[in-house]
């Protein structure tokens, strides 16, 4: 009798519950970006040549539009795509963590769009494809921090990566570009395959794909499956480590950055890294929180190795080699990825018992990412400007920038000092302090010491670059008249393109505001994330 009523009740409830509810407001940020991407692609077919110029500004506007819902979502903590009947088994969550990272991705994509406008014209990239790919990759990266199950996460990451391969290889007739794209593609696909294998192991062990279920399932799993569970964790993390360019999965970074158009390199270094790291963060703090003893120490070691490898390689960049500027930024971004892992490793001791504590530790990563995104994009904007005149883009080409364009040089100096963490880049310093503090507080003193050594190494090359920009140019004529008239003797530097100067001003303003009030981002390292 009871069984019968139960069945009847199930039957009666089915139409209401078996279909997952969709909260369109919650999923609007990635949706708007994706729809805009498609619209751009279609519109390009029908637009005349002159109209195609508007695609760039339209894409930038679409990115702003997709960031708009974040304002309304801020206070709501929405969840959607929930399994009927099971509490907390939702695939998409718009909690603070997700919203902050989505804001970061959309902001960074907007800035990338600004940097891209002159490049699309200069390099004669196909505009429709370019903006479509950029918007699609952004849509994927926006989805990553909000996904709460393994499949959504992997799909989101693939949506973010696949267009990126194409973006890297988009430059027509460039062998380096094609090679970079292939290298990026092959290693990325391998990583994805490994991740999927890991995900399937985890599914086998726990019987669920939702993060919360995995975390519980791993503790209750059959002891015989323990090895399989561990293997699943390790393999899943490998794929995300690849996206975040963690050593030893970092070899694609320098070649890909150099081969790609500068704006795409900027995009990869910020949006790509954010996607990878936010996936890593979600997996570690939510899905694998019950097995922190496996990944905690390993991650600490990886962080140390990553920052050291990245910084030492960046240090060895010779100023007169072609593409040394982008190469240096590429290696330094590997080093920065190492810093970003430190709070995640520091979150390990709290991950199981005190999830809020662990999230606060991981919040230092989010705070650092926000700082890094602003100043790294700013630096890339200056690099994009230089690359318009000197294709080789050597560090040497920055010599005398201050004499030619004082504001650009001051901005570059500020960005680099923020990355280095030295006043006047106050926010860079405090973001590092936040990371140091997570390490010191969680008994990772040795990691803090290694990071300190790395900070000094990084200071060396950042400062060298800064100093170069302020040094007198060799070709520069020192007479005042030439400087006044922008005369013939002067090294020919064109005015900065408007989108680039807007970018530099915007990112510099963000850096300065954050330097005056670092609490805006550092609040995430305290209680700001829920």
């Amino acid at each position: 009798m009871t069984a019968l009523t139960h069945a009847a009740q199930l039957f009666a409830d089915e139409p209401a519950q078996s279909v997952q509810s969709v909260d369109w407001l919650a999923i609007s940020p990635p949706t708007v970006a994706a729809v805009a991407g498609l619209a751009v692609l279609v519109a390009e077919l029908f637009l005349p040549e002159r109209g195609k110029r508007l695609l760039g500004p339209a894409s930038a506007a679409a990115l702003l539009l997709s960031a708009l819902p974040l304002l309304f979502l801020r206070t709501r903590q929405l969840e959607t795509f929930c399994l009927p009947g099971e509490a907390g088994a939702c695939s998409y969550s718009a909690d603070t963590l997700a919203l902050v990272l989505q804001f970061l991705v959309l902001g960074a994509a907007f800035v990338t769009a600004l940097i891209s406008m002159p490049a699309v014209r200069d390099l004669e990239l196909p505009p429709g494809e370019y903006w479509f790919l950029l918007l699609s990759a952004t849509a994927g990266a926006v989805l990553v921090p909000a996904s709460r199950d393994l499949v959504t996460l992997v799909i989101a990451l693939e949506v973010a990566s696949l267009p990126a391969f194409a973006l890297v290889g988009l430059r027509r007739g460039s062998r380096r570009s094609a090679e970079a794209a292939l290298k990026f593609f092959l290693s990325s696909v391998t990583a994805t395959a490994v991740t999927l294998l890991g995900a399937s192991f985890l599914y086998a062990v726990t019987g669920t794909l939702h993060f919360r279920g995995i975390s519980e399932g791993l503790t209750r799993a059959d002891p015989q499956l323990a090895t399989l569970g561990t293997a699943g964790i390790v393999l899943t993390l490998v794929g995300f480590a690849f996206k975040a360019a963690v050593v030893p999965f970092h070899f694609w970074v320098p070649d890909t950055y150099v081969g790609a158009p500068v704006p795409v390199a900027a995009f990869l270094s910020v949006v790509g890294k954010t996607a990878g790291l936010s996936g890593l963060l979600l997996l570690l703090v939510q899905a694998f929180s019950s097995r922190a003893e496996i990944w905690g120490p390993a991650l600490a070691v990886l962080a140390a190795v990553t920052m050291t490898a990245g910084n030492v390689a960046a240090l060895r960049q010779r100023a007169d080699r072609p593409h040394s500027a982008v190469r240096l930024l590429a290696w330094s971004s590997v080093g920065q990825a190492g810093y970003l892992l430190v709070p995640l490793a520091a979150a390990a001791p709290d991950a199981g018992a005190h999830p809020q504590q662990a999230l606060s530790s991981a919040g230092a990563t989010v705070a650092y990412l926000l700082m890094y995104a602003a100043v790294n994009l700013g630096a890339f904007a200056v690099v994009a400007h230089i690359s318009r005149t000197s294709r080789a883009n050597r560090l040497e080409d920055y010599r005398g920038l201050y004499a030619a364009q004082p504001l650009a040089a001051l901005a570059l100096g500020f960005f680099l000092l923020c990355l280095a963490g030295l006043p006047p880049g106050v926010i860079g310093l405090f973001a590092k302090v936040a990371i140091f503090s997570t390490a010191v507080q969680n008994g990772l003193g040795w990691l803090a010491v290694i990071m300190a050594a790395n900070v000094v190494i990084a200071l060396y090359y950042y400062l060298q670059w800064t100093a170069l920009a302020f040094r007198k140019g060799e070709t520069e004529v020192t007479t005042v008249s030439a400087a006044g008239s922008g005369g013939s003797g002067q090294l020919a530097r064109p005015r900065i393109a408007t989108p680039l100067s807007v970018t530099i001003a915007l990112t510099a303003a963000v850096g300065i505001v954050l330097s005056v009030d670092p609490d805006l981002v550092l609040t995430f390292a305290a209680e700001g994330l829920r």
Binding site: L417, L422, P423, P424, V426, L429, F430, V433, A434, F436, S437, V440, Q441, A448, V449, A452, A453, V455, V456, L459, Y460, L463, A467, F470, T478, T479, V480, P518, D519, L522, T523, F524, A525, A526, E527, G528
Partner: protein, 582 residues
């Protein structure tokens, strides 16, 4: 005793920190109409003089308003939350320890700005027709001659003034802040300006020297940051006052030892303590005059100030553990610095006068460290006194050597002294007199500022704090006393070689003669035919009088009336030292 309300004092202290920052930003903007001056360089250097003058005035008013009856208490205190998530507050205040340093910084920066302004003025026009000719030949706005003002070589005067002001803001903030992390921020803030000052306005080899300076300091200060964080997290606060007054259970012996080691290394690099000093001679040798003055006069003090302000009260047990080693390093520094100076002062050693004074700084800062290492009020008071005295005297000496370099184009002792001696007494008697005064003050003649600090430091070492090995410290005292003898030795050798001698007797030097053409009012008494590089030197200019007289007066004043300074520091030191008054 003038009583000033606390609000005014707070505003003054904040103004002392904010005005240089605002001034630095303003220096980069084009001059407003009406203040354009003769040329942009002159206008911006005048701007520098104005801003530093205002800061000095504010600092002096602050000192006048300071309640000298309770110098052990923080005054002009303001405490605002800045970064709540890291627990960092903007906590400012001055007491008897920091007030003299604030005034010294404001004074030295003002004098540097004044000196640059004067040097630029006399070089680029006005008083001397020869100089004006030389300047116009090179273009009206950028006189790049080797003997012109310090602000005109290397880079634009705008950047020069902005950097000096940034440097001032950072140094003042270091002395005025009472939050550990803010202290670190201010401590780091001076690096970039100083780097550019050395690298762009410095002499030969300035690039590598500037790198060495910044790398040493950075290596030290990153370690220091870890130590500061350790203290902050174990005790739960970054506030220096709270840390000094309350007992924190979290600061166990091990924590304190680690913290003192980490923070101590950072501060010791800056001080600099032997064997971490090797950046200093290079930086000083390459730096422009103004950079050297500020480096020796105020930047080095940040290191010793950190010892007194942070380590003594916050980690007393850790300090007790390391005090004997600190003392030993300090004494080695004293003896080593003096010996290097002696060897540099020898005839034929190709000794550089700037380098020599830099090494003498290592010795003098050794006394400061020795005083701190005794952990007694006597020793720490002596250290603070020696700090100020060194700032005044070495500041003056670097000014003099810089001016000598501008006149003769060299700081090489052998070139300067020729066969019989530089004969400054004969060719430029006032200049020579000032140099002799600076040297004598530096060697610690009683009655001048240099005496009291070193005497008190040695006295403190004779009777160190309970728990420290007396035998070791008495040995340090003996070695330190030997150091004073050696100091006297090399400084007198320098005076004899540079100031005395026969101006008629030395071989001719064409190179230096050409440089002399740029000088003005050549003294008619000096020999016309063959002469040393120091013959026919112009004597002290009026702007040089303006820049140097305050230092001379204060050196004499502090020497004759040490209570002026000790009355301020002593109560504060009693508060900072553990187990004395608490």
């Amino acid at each position: 005793m003038i009583s000033v309300s606390n609000t005014v004092m707070q505003a003054l202290l904040a103004a002392v920190l904010v005005i240089p920052l605002a001034g630095a930003a303003a220096a980069l903007l084009p001059a407003p109409p009406g203040l354009k001056g003769r040329d942009p360089g002159q206008a911006v250097l005048r701007h520098g003089v104005t801003v530093t003058g205002v800061v000095l005035a504010a600092a002096v008013v602050l000192a006048v308003g300071f309640d000298t009856d309770r110098p052990g208490v923080m005054q002009a205190e303001s405490n605002v939350s800045w970064i709540p998530s890291l627990g960092i507050r903007i906590h400012l205040g001055v007491d008897g320890v920091s007030l003299p340093l604030v005034v010294l910084t404001a004074l030295l920066t003002f004098l540097c700005a004044l000196y640059s302004y004067g040097a630029n003025n006399s070089a680029s026009g006005g008083s001397s027709s020869q100089a004006a000719e030389a300047a116009t030949a090179e273009g009206p706005t950028e006189p790049t001659g080797s003997s012109t003002g310090p602000a005109s070589t290397g880079g634009s005067p705008q950047a020069f003034v902005a950097l000096i002001l940034l440097l001032e803001a950072g140094t003042l903030a270091t002395f005025a802040t009472l939050d550990l992390i803010l202290f670190f921020l201010a401590f780091e803030m001076v690096l970039i300006p100083m780097y550019f000052l050395i690298a762009r306005w410095g002499g030969a080899g300035s690039g590598p020297a500037a790198w060495k300076f910044i790398l040493y300091t950075l290596l030290g200060s990153v370690v220091m940051l870890l130590g500061l964080l350790l203290i902050g997290f174990k005790s739960g606060t970054f506030d220096m006052v709270a840390l000094a007054t309350d007992k924190h259970a979290g600061l166990t012996h091990t924590t304190q030892v680690l913290a003192v080691l980490a923070i101590g290394i950072g501060l010791a690099v800056k001080t600099p303590m032997w064997p971490l000093h090797s950046w200093l001679p290079d930086a000083h040798t390459a730096a422009p005059t103004v950079g050297s003055v500020l480096l020796a006069g105020v930047l080095l003090k940040m290191g010793t100030y950190g010892f007194v302000r942070i380590l003594l009260p916050v980690a007393p047990e850790g300090m007790r553990t390391f005090a004997p080693y600190l003392g030993a390093f300090a004494v080695v520094g004293i003896v080593y610095g003096s010996l290097v100076c002696l060897s540099l002062a020898r005839r034929g050693a190709k000794g550089d006068l700037k380098r020599l004074i830099a090494y003498s700084s290592v010795g003098h800062m050794g006394f400061v460290l020795l005083g701190i290492a005794t952990l007694t009020p006597t020793g720490v008071n002596g250290a603070l006194f020696a700090n100020i005295a060194h700032g005044l005297i070495t500041g003056l000496l670097f000014f003099l050597v810089g001016a000598l370099k501008e006149r003769t184009g060299t700081t090489d002792l052998d070139t300067l002294s020729g066969d019989t001696g530089g004969a400054l007494y004969g060719s430029a008697p006032r200049f020579g007199g000032l140099l002799a005064f600076g040297a004598v003050a530096s060697l610690g003649l009683p009655g001048l500022a240099g005496f009291w600090g070193e005497m008190l430091a040695l006295l403190g070492a004779y009777d160190p704090a309970a728990g420290l090995s007396r035998a070791a410290f008495v040995t340090y005292m003996a070695l330190g006393a030997l150091g004073t003898l050696l100091t006297a030795g090399y400084l007198l050798v320098v005076v004899r070689r540079v100031c005395m001698g026969d101006p008629q007797d030395a071989p001719d030097d064409h190179d230096s003669r050409e440089r002399l053409e740029l000088g003005h009012e050549a003294t008619p008494e000096a020999g016309r035919k063959g002469s040393t590089v120091t013959a026919r030197l112009p004597d002290v200019h009026s702007y040089e009088y303006a820049a140097w007289t305050p230092l001379v007066l204060l050196t004499v004043a502090a020497g004759l009336w040490p209570a002026l300074l000790l009355g301020l520091t002593d109560p504060a030191v009693q508060n900072l030292l553990p187990g004395v008054s608490r």
